[in-house]
Amino acid sequence: MSNERPTDASDKKVRRLDIATHWQLMWWRFRKHRMAMSGTAILGLFLIISLFAEFIAPYGSHTRNTRYLQGPPMGIHFFDDHWNFHLRPFIYGRVNKRDPVTYRLRAVVDTSLQLPLRFFTRGETYKFWGLFESNLHFYGIDKGFVNLFGTDQLGRDVFSRLMYATRISLSVGAIGVFLAFSMGIFMGGIAGYLGGITDELIMRLMEFIRSIPTLPLWLALAAALPRDWSALKVYLAVTAILASIGWTHLGRRVRSKLLSLREEEFILSARLAGCSDARIIGRHMLPSFMSYLIVDLSVSFPYIILAETSLSFLGLGLREPIVSWGVLLYSAQNIRTLAEIPWLLISGLFVIIAVLAFNFMGDGLRDAADPFAK
């Protein structure tokens, strides 16, 4: 037998297990899951983008650049035509030339114009979250225009619009999930804990809502929104619509979890100890499946995002001047537009990445939230 030293209780890691709280154990397990960690990192990046959209985007979401319409994405270069290395990345300038065949103005790459990217530079003025003004941008260019993801038919910078869209899409997701969760936990909670008639009524309500076909329901509700509502009102209404259906899924799961928890021995002990119903639910039951809720949360998020994207894509959800990923895709409905401006689909890519990231994170959370090994 090898002379390996068996792992011992004096090993720091083993000792720490003794006094670790449930959350610490969960975090340690989560950390080992590489896919989950990368998913979380991506979501972290998205979060930063949402928070600092104005700063990261070089232009506003409606700023038009008439000199570069339907322009393809501009590549970042480190090496120039003569293979010289430049530390500072740069883009090539574009000049407009008239196409001899179609007589249309087209932007053509001019390799003689090297425009270096500047970081933390001054550019367009914006109001940070509508609160204070600034013109500091993450990157920008001294003269000319930089469109890393190209421009659309109105000359708007796709990159900038994507940054703002990230904020909107994620916040719709967040608010929608929050609303759905609150409703779901509340309704499912009282159904599961009280049982009896309350349970029956709430269950029937949930089943009724869920039996209505979702897409037509959304479309109907969204179409019912008055066309003259402000974009903000529409935004809130859309979120509320999404939440009003989403809560049933969670509600049902919360209810069944509570029903099974009710018979657990530590809950019975809590009753015997004289705890009130509120204390039992709040102090004993909810924490017991909090980790389960968190997993659920991370999986519900992408659903709401996809739902909003679909609605807006069909023109029934958010609309201009609010930009979300779905709104950006709206203009990609047209085959001709798609053929000419395929880079508009990059927002679809963002959706895919976000959904995947949430799923990876959810996988990791689910694995980490396993109950204590007995």
Partner: protein, 349 residues
């Protein structure tokens, strides 16, 4: 000795729906089917029976953790008699400080997200009995009494072994100084060498704090050690109740005889001569008519035993039994085959 608790005709029926689509009669699972007994202050009453006997359900019904379908639970509380069964929810919550329960599974009965200190002190908080320094003192006192290391009270249950967790559960049950504890299989899930620790702890605490126990278990040897009197349950009914010695040594009910003969003797050289019961445990939703034990009883007759339910009655002082033929049966007990074994190696230990 005064009576602390008197249970009268306690019933616990679980509805199972109808017999068939057309019948109007509802089918019930009679987990506890009319149980009556008296519990004396300071004693340990054992409750034995096999799976399906209803003993765990009875334990929970007495405390009203589940709502009994019928019957009375009279609790002599010092200032009069309270019928536990008629209390409303908030009165019940307050009464629970007098009666507590210790559960079988030390892993499931402690909230894994609370520290041991919080677990033990919870009832003090919930009932607003103490707070701050006074609460801490009470928790430390009871923890010490239960053999816990008071420096580990801020840890979480998963850091403790099964035996220690059971001590935590006992401390939690005792912190409010109740008078009556239902011990539902308190040692079944523990290692054999730890069982003795907990059994002795329960005995010592009973002396120290003047407790009364209902000791529910399926391990007949442990029950014999821990209990003053023992009751046997079969299919929701009590079939026999007597002092431990009388029940084990001179059982009067055929089912008890079968149970006792199935205990492996201390001395491995003595062959077991178990009384084998015919057939299977009947479905509790469709119990046999008359004496529910009759299909498996080798002494059953074909008339009275099949049609008439025997009464639970006293056949000799302190010895109750429900059998039509109690007077005429001579049954063998467990202890006839038991000889106290004194291992020769004992001096070395």
């Amino acid at each position: 000795m005064s009576t602390l608790i008197e249970v009268q005709d306690l019933k616990m029926y679980f509805p199972l729906g109808r017999a068939n689509l057309f019948s109007r009669h509802k089918v019930f699972l009679r987990a506890v089917d009319g149980v009556s007994f008296k519990l004396q202050k300071g004693e340990t009453l054992g409750l034995v029976g096999e799976s399906g006997s209803g003993k765990t359900t009875l334990g929970r019904a007495i405390l009203r953790l589940i709502e009994p379908t019928g019957g009375r639970i009279l609790f002599k509380n010092g200032n009069g008699v309270t019928d536990f069964a008629t209390l409303n929810r908030s009165q019940l919550r307050r009464q629970w400080r007098h009666m507590q329960m210790i559960f079988q599974d030390p892993y499931a009965s402690l909230n894994p997200r609370m520290t041991v200190k919080e677990i033990i002190g919870e009832s003090l908080v919930a009932n607003r009995l103490a707070s701050g320094g006074q609460m801490d003192e009470r928790i430390l006192d009871i923890a010490r009494l239960c053999g816990l290391n008071i420096r580990q009270l801020s840890r979480y249950p998963h850091a403790f072994s099964g035996g220690q967790r059971q001590r935590i559960a006992i401390a939690r049950a005792l912190v409010m100084h109740p008078q009556f504890i239902v011990c539902d299989e308190p040692v079944s899930a523990l290692d054999v060498s730890i069982q003795a620790q907990i059994l002795n702890l329960l005995k010592d605490l009973q002396q120290e704090l003047d407790l009364t126990y209902l000791f529910i278990a399926h391990d007949l040897s442990a029950v014999a050690y821990a209990c003053d009197r023992v009751a046997v349950m079969y299919l929701g009914r009590l079939v026999e109740m007597a002092t431990t010695k009388a029940l084990y040594y001179t059982p009067r009910h055929p089912y008890t005889e079968a149970l006792m003969s199935a205990i492996p003797p201390d001395d491995p050289e003595l062959p077991m001569q178990p009384v084998f019961l015919e057939g299977e445990q009947p479905n509790p939703a469709h119990p046999p008519s008359g004496c529910t034990f009759h299909p498996r009883c080798r002494y059953a007759d074909t008339e009275r035993c099949v049609t008439e339910v025997p009464r639970f009655r006293e056949v000799s002082t302190g010895h109750l039994i429900s059998c039509h033929h109690a007077e005429s049966l001579t049954l063998t007990g467990a202890l006839e085959h038991q000889i106290p074994v004194e291992p020769e190696g004992a001096e070395n230990a």
